[in-house]
């Protein structure tokens, strides 16, 4: 396997649109920090890195002519995406497999916060309801590409989101799943974000001064940046000249506190070490560190300590370019990767603006002015997020020696060892298998277990119910097994009960008296990082927020890494909650049935909508099996907008790789739910691919939610383990099936995102 190279980059931030403007500002030391102009907030005097273009001007930049509404998050993303795709000369005619992975946290919040009470009380802004979540923002960005992305997903690990998109992209290329990965992140400023960070009292009222003894916090920014990555061989074939290499990367979890870094910067230290190890480089090979350097008391002190642990007294030049752009949160990993690449290719080091006095205990001084005419061979960039989601990436010049990445071994196995859930069925175990609860209406509350056996009330004081569910199911799924190598979480919306609390308080109290707890918990990666904290797991940690395939994305990430032998075990979860307000909003856009939701009614239904559910499910994946193992994941894939034929051949490919054919399938698990359009997609696949195979469904028991597909996998696994498919799970026959051995799980979201998962004994 040869090196992974970067063949295109695109960027927009408060420094300007595009690399040219960015470069000019970086080299002349001009900050992009000023008062807020576009957002109607009380805090307009807070210095921020707002992109100067209005939404309308952004649309002009990309000649946006589509009819669909689009959020600022997506607009910013598309400006950067356009530049990256053009530079890499990707126009859709390459005939290659291409993934699009975008990091994002606030999604359409900047619109939701304006229209929240319209969503609830009238029908004037209904079109924005479905634009709220992170995955929707990625989906509408995908249209910027003239061709077809084979796979798209959204990563939401707060301020390290874009860095983790780079890491997933690299893993997909290494695994041979795609030829090219377009990766990065986007985030726009919102009142929600400004007020949220304000409750944490970490916003500086002056332009920020990272690594300065007299620093008083960060300036929020907005922006987007994307990179096109491929192997050297692919670039050669496409006759395109690479810009630089992605030499290495690391993802770890600090597992310490939701908003604070551990005093010795353990997660940051481990992420940098891992990046160095994977690149085959020594600390002294690094010529420049683009630090996370937010300007908060805690981050800069601890990041400095972590860097000192890695680099000792041979600290390379360090600067935080957040002093130019502000903290672009989810986009930061992309923005700072592109800035690092600009530094690498143009031979300069951007300044750490505003720096004067070293922090006590630090043995280094950041670069306080722009340094020109330097030769940079290897640049390391740090991206750390809430919850301790820490990632580091190393970019290297083309003419350097870095070991080629390891070809994936393809030898690793992947078993579902155990699983536990909290849902509208009896919690934790598999009671539902013999005694299912039949939902009586479209809205049902989850049945909560007794949480006191999992954690003390003091530890639970800041946990919303979704966090409690996630933690309890993690503890149960893990049982007596050792701490897993990775924690990978899917959540379409995160802890929305808390998001709603913060949002309504912000609107009702005119941005005053807001509670930090609700803001912190609205960040989607709170779930995965809280589980890591509880289990003290410093391993790989990632969160996917991509609508109906959030869980599937997590599972794919875990399976890829297990097959490659990179990890031996992973806790994989799907977590989403329903609230009365969100239920009402989704009801307006056809999500729910108004009457009978009995299985027979759902089977007969010729109308939109289904019943809602809440989902909190954790499963433990291991690379070895024992007597308790539920089943093996023999193969899986995710596809974006596949044709009917592409979907069928993907299923064939997965079965073939397991030495099976469609005739070997004992059942297909589907997300049939009574929703007319949704069901039609499943029926088409079933009729074309396996008309004779018995069909299993589960949404009549567990309801619909962004992570509902977790129950599809879970139901299939339990049936294999119990050697029985009970009649209440069967869609088109009432005769139970004994001794099933091979089950295919098919999930789709609005016929855009599909996943296929093959479970065998």
């Amino acid at each position: 396997m040869d090196n992974i190279v970067i063949t295109g980059t695109g960027i927009i931030s408060s420094l300007g649109a595009g690399k040219e403007e960015t470069l000019e500002k970086l080299r002349t030391g001009q900050r992009g920090i000023g008062p807020i102009r576009h957002i109607q907030t009380k805090h307009r005097d807070l210095p921020s890195g707002e992109v100067e273009y209005s939404d309308e001007q952004l649309k002009e930049l990309i000649r946006y002519q589509e009819e669909s509404i689009i959020t600022r998050t997506s607009l910013l993303g598309r400006v950067a995406l356009k530049e990256a795709l053009e530079e890499a000369r990707l126009d859709g005619t390459e005939g290659l497999h291409i993934a699009f992975i975008s990091g994002n946290t606030v999604g359409g919040m900047e619109k939701s916060e304006q229209f929240y009470y319209d969503f609830l009380h009238n029908n004037s802004r209904n079109e924005y309801i479905a634009m709220h979540d992170c995955g929707a923002c990625t989906d509408i960005m995908a249209k910027q590409f003239g061709g077809h992305f084979d796979l798209i997903t959204t990563i939401s690990t707060a301020c390290s989101s874009a860095a983790n998109a780079i890491i997933l992209g690299a893993n997909l290329i290494k695994e041979g799943r795609v030829d090219i990965a377009v990766v990065g992140g986007t985030e726009c400023l919102s009142k929600f974000h400004i007020n949220g960070f304000n409750t944490l009292m970490i916003l500086d009222k002056e332009p920020c001064r990272p690594f300065d003894a007299d620093r008083h916090g960060l300036n929020l920014g907005e922006g987007a940046a994307y990179l096109v990555m491929e192997t050297e061989a692919t670039a050669r074939k496409r006759n395109i000249r690479p810009i630089c290499k992605l030499a290495g990367y690391g993802n770890t979890c600090d597992a310490y506190h939701q908003t604070a870094t551990s005093p010795n910067g353990e997660g940051a230290y481990l992420a940098m070490c891992q990046a160095l190890k994977s690149s085959g480089l020594r600390p002294e090979d690094i010529d420049y560190i683009n630090a996370h350097g937010t300007g908060t008391g805690n981050n800069d002190e601890c990041e400095g300590i972590a860097m000192m642990r890695v680099f000792g007294d041979r600290m390379p030049p360090v600067s935080s370019t957040k002093s130019y752009t502000g903290h672009t949160t989810s986009a930061a990993g992309g923005v700072e990767s592109v800035i690092s690449i600009l530094a690498l290719t143009h031979g300069f080091i951007p300044a750490n603006l505003g720096y004067q006095t070293p922090i006590e205990g630090h043995n280094f001084k950041p670069v306080d002015h722009v340094i020109e005419n330097v030769t940079l061979k290897h640049v390391l960039t740090n991206s750390f997020g809430f919850g301790g989601n820490d990632s580091s990436c190393i970019f290297s010049a083309l003419d350097t020696e870095t070991p080629a990445p390891m070809q994936a071994s393809e030898a690793g196995q992947c078993y579902i060892q155990s699983a536990a859930h909290v849902s509208i069925q009896q919690p934790i175990g598999d009671d539902w298998f013999h005694n299912p609860v039949m939902p009586a209406q479209a809205y049902s509350e989850s049945i909560e277990p007794d949480y006191s056996k999992y954690f003390a009330p003091m530890a639970a004081r800041r946990m919303g119910r979704l966090l409690k569910r996630a933690l309890a199911t993690a503890v149960e799924a893990l049982g007596n097994h050792p701490v897993p190598d990775a924690i990978i979480t899917g959540t379409g919306l995160g802890c929305i009960a808390n998001t709603e609390k913060f949002l309504t308080a912000m609107i009702d109290n005119q941005e005053e008296f807001l509670q930090p707890t609700f803001f912190m918990q609205s960040t989607h990666n709170t779930i995965g990082s809280q589980v890591a904290q509880h289990l003290k797991c410093h391993g790989y940690n990632c969160t996917y927020s991509h609508r109906g395939t959030s869980f599937d994305s997590s599972l794919l990430d875990a399976c890829l890494q297990m097959r490659a032998g990179a990890i031996g075990s992973a806790l994989v979860g799907g977590h989403d909650e329903m609230t009365p307000a969100y239920f009402e909003m989704l009801g307006k856009i056809g999500y729910w049935k108004s009457g009978d939701v009995s299985p027979d009614a759902l089977r007969r239904a010729d109308s939109p909508g289904s019943l809602s559910g809440s989902c909190s499910l954790n499963m433990l994946l291991t690379d070895h099996s024992d007597a308790d193992t539920l089943c093996r994941i023999a193969g899986m894939d995710m596809l974006y907008q596949p044709s009917d034929e592409e979907l069928r051949s993907a299923a064939d490919r997965i079965l073939h790789q397991a030495g099976l054919t469609v005739k070997d399938l004992d059942a297909v698990v589907t997300g049939l739910s009574g929703d007319r359009d949704n069901d039609a997609v499943y029926r088409t696949f079933l009729q074309q691919y396996c008309p004779e195979t018995p069909v299993v469904w589960y949404k009549h028991l567990f309801g619909e939610s962004f992570c509902a597909s977790a129950f599809g996998v879970y139901a299939g696994a339990v049936c294999l383990h119990k050697k029985l498919i009970p009649s209440h799970l069967l869609y088109n026959t009432s005769e139970e099936i004994s001794n099933p051995k091979h089950i295919l799980v098919h999930n789709h979201f609005q016929n855009k995102d599909h996943s296929l998962i093959l479970l065998t004994l």
């Binding site: 409750t199 009292m201 009330p457 509670q515 930090p516």
Partner: protein, 85 residues
């Protein structure tokens, strides 16, 4: 003063969601952070909101809380002196 201390204890239990605790469980002289009640930096931020919302006291930065939140008694004394509502 005694009344304010009791009032504060109830408010702290409520705003920090200290399930299962009663005002009697909080020693007015015990440290709120670290040993003692075992609160952390986020709790401190919540207490800052409480002071602003209920007593009209606005702190400019989180560090000021360190002295004020030493114990419920110290907090009450500070509130008594600085409250605007």
């Amino acid at each position: 003063m005694k009344e304010l201390i009791e009032e504060l204890k109830t408010e702290i239990i409520d705003v920090l969601n200290l399930e299962g605790m009663t005002p009697a469980d909080i020693d007015e002289n015990a440290p709120l952070f670290g040993e003692g009640l075992g609160l952390d930096s986020i709790d401190a931020l919540e207490l800052i909101v409480l002071m602003e919302k209920n007593y009209g006291i606005k702190l400019a930065n989180a560090n000021e809380g360190k002295e004020i939140f030493k114990s419920v008694k110290v907090m009450a004394e500070y509130i008594k002196e600085h409250r605007t509502k």
